[in-house]
Amino acid sequence: MSTQPLDGAQALIKTLDDLGIEYMFGYSGGAAIPIFDALETIKTKLKFVLVRHEQGAVHMADGYARATGKPAAVLVTSGPGAGNTVTGLMTAMMDSVPMIVISGQTVTWMLGKDAFQEADIFGITIPVVKHNYLVKDTNSLPRIAREAYHIATTGRPGPVLIDVPKDVSGAAFTGDLNPPFNLPGYDPSGDFKIDRSAIEEAATLISQAKRPVILAGQGAMIARADKELRYLAETLHAPVTSTLLGKGVFPETHALSLGMLGMHGTAYANKAMIECDLLINVGSRFDDRIIGNPSKFCATAKIIHIDIDPAEMNKMIKPDICIVGDAKAALAALNEHINPLPTADWLSKLDGYKKKYPLTYKKQGGLRMQQVIDELYELTKGEAIVSTDVGQHQMWAAQFYKNSESFHWLSSGGAGTMGFGFPAAIGAQLAHPKKTVISISGDGGFQMTLFELATAQIHKLPIKIVVLNNHYLGMVRQWQELFFENRESGVDLIGNPDFCKLAAAYGIPSVHIKRPADVTRMLEKALAYNDGPILIHAECVKTDNVFPMIPAGAALEDMITEAPKQKMAKPIGST
């Protein structure tokens, strides 16, 4: 095994190794062969995982990052290989997930000439990455890789793509493996210099509040502001609600927790938003599924917004006080100025809402997804890392699987990417081999990336792969039922395979749950199996609906907590 002289690909792999990248997920192809070859010719701690589709690779890197806070790398070939990463890049970009995607590219002298497997992936991915590169100079590869890592992991994190032409990766490297880099337009060090006057104004506003609510978003988790957030809530005696991606940064089992808010959040969280006189938003971007109609959102409240991204200020909601910066640094500064608030009446009122509008589900009439998730929560004591796909099961998992730790909830929020959950669980399980990792999917999303069963099986990853099968694209069907006079169009997943036989084809054992009475026993059996992946196929009732629900674009006041008796107007929000 020789290490000198290096070619560009070897210099790139050495740099990634030096940066501490632990895993690289990928799929080979002609234009990327020199880089794949470098994995064999360079001594590296980098562990490569061969996937079955490039989308799976990007979601695995995403799951690894969400479960650790650290980036992984992805390596794919040019053209279709690179194109297949776009959905995963968009998913990571929308949810501020760091990763480095390396794509092979045709040789530089063929660029723009429609060469075999050529795609302008630089141009294609501009809207879905934090930054990207088309490398023209072999000796610049280490600098670009270091810049990419710096950009991906600092400030508001995000994915970075590096497109490497085959002649660039294959040429002799004569440069510096650890060169300095200079990004004059990018200086995230300012994210920790919090505006003290804004902090003091915020503290004054807080001192006047009688009905405060804290909204915890993923920004608080990324900043690792768990302790500061908890100190803020417990000192103020203020209730805390979280976004879908913020689940766990404040313990959902805490007496002050209101659970998730928004379209399918708890009724008591949404009622708290309607009635509060102060909202402290820590690291959430006021997604439209949270605010509904922006003109009616928190109409009677003063709003303090803490976010690392200045472009999020005034984007959806116009706060009274904007604090731009790292959530941990901002809360640490704010916590120096706060005193307990007289919130006993307010908390008492919210407790009344908790009793009046509990999260619940029917125990009769067939197996319900909520029951499976609820029992998974009980059996794992809420300590598992849970990934989900997108749809009804995702919302029920968010409601019934309470998270008490950061980085334990992996779900595609902004992009709403079906097919995300299972490969994300693979990334998370590789990152945490000894933790229980549960992938919860619907039958629709699972079929979008189920080919990664092979990847899970090869690496003997003890993932509990839960497929909640209602033979429907359930969330769309729910909308069609409620808003389109029950006209079911394009939602009946007739032709689903026998998921247990499918697992068996990959050599993966399975359990099959059909009746509510079997859930506990079957889940116990699956949770006890740790020799590799196990699939849990739960056949659930076909036409259950997720409640509470706020129709897209409607005000929080328009929340419905059960199936409406009368016909509903079509929602004005897009999703």
Partner: protein
């Protein structure tokens, strides 16, 4: 049959008022693809780029873009922030006539027989313009100034047959010592 194909405003009609609502000055890394990144920010948010001037800066590592745009003013703050977020953008400022000097350049090609030439030259002199091409039947005049001056010049030259005009976008520079 007239062999001159013109898409210019007829002499009898009022000239099209370009006047961008906002002028942004952006300093960027002199790298391929930077303009594409910036245009994507504008187009995604429904802003039309009315004028665009890009050239290398005094330091060849950077380029200067002056962009005239029109669109919902409520979205401008978001545009500036999103452009500023791009890794290749050093800074992005909006400039108004109060804090900056703005100039444009126009070249106007008119059909102009010898009998009309004196009048055309008189108008050119009035606008501090220059004749940069002259034939027995045509001339090209170059004029610099702010947008109202350019508009006024076009109006005056409309008494001739305007064959075509080519107009740069605005270039802007902050007054005083502050950077543009």
């Amino acid at each position: 049959m007239n062999s001159i194909i013109t898409t210019e405003t007829p002499a009898t009609a009022a000239p099209i008022r370009r006047g961008a609502l906002h002028t942004l000055s952006i300093l960027v890394n002199n790298e391929p693809g930077v303009l594409m990144r910036i245009c994507q920010v504008f187009s995604r948010r429904g802003f039309n780029i009315d004028s665009l001037v890009v050239s290398e800066g005094r330091n060849a590592n950077f380029s200067r873009m002056t962009i005239g745009i029109s669109g919902n003013p409520d979205g401008l703050d978001q545009i500036i922030k999103q452009v500023s977020k791009l890794i290749d953008v050093i800074h992005c400022f909006e400039h108004t006539s109060d804090d900056s000097v703005t100039k444009e350049l126009i070249m106007i090609k008119i059909a102009c027989a010898e009998a009309e030439r004196s009048q055309a030259l008189h108008i050119t002199a009035h606008f501090d313009g220059k004749t940069v091409d002259l034939t027995p039947s045509s001339m090209i005049v170059m004029i610099t100034g702010d947008s109202p001056k350019i508009d006024a010049a076009v109006t005056m030259f409309s008494q001739f047959q305007i064959i075509e005009t080519v107009r740069t976008g605005k270039v802007v520079m902050a007054r005083g010592e502050q950077p543009t």
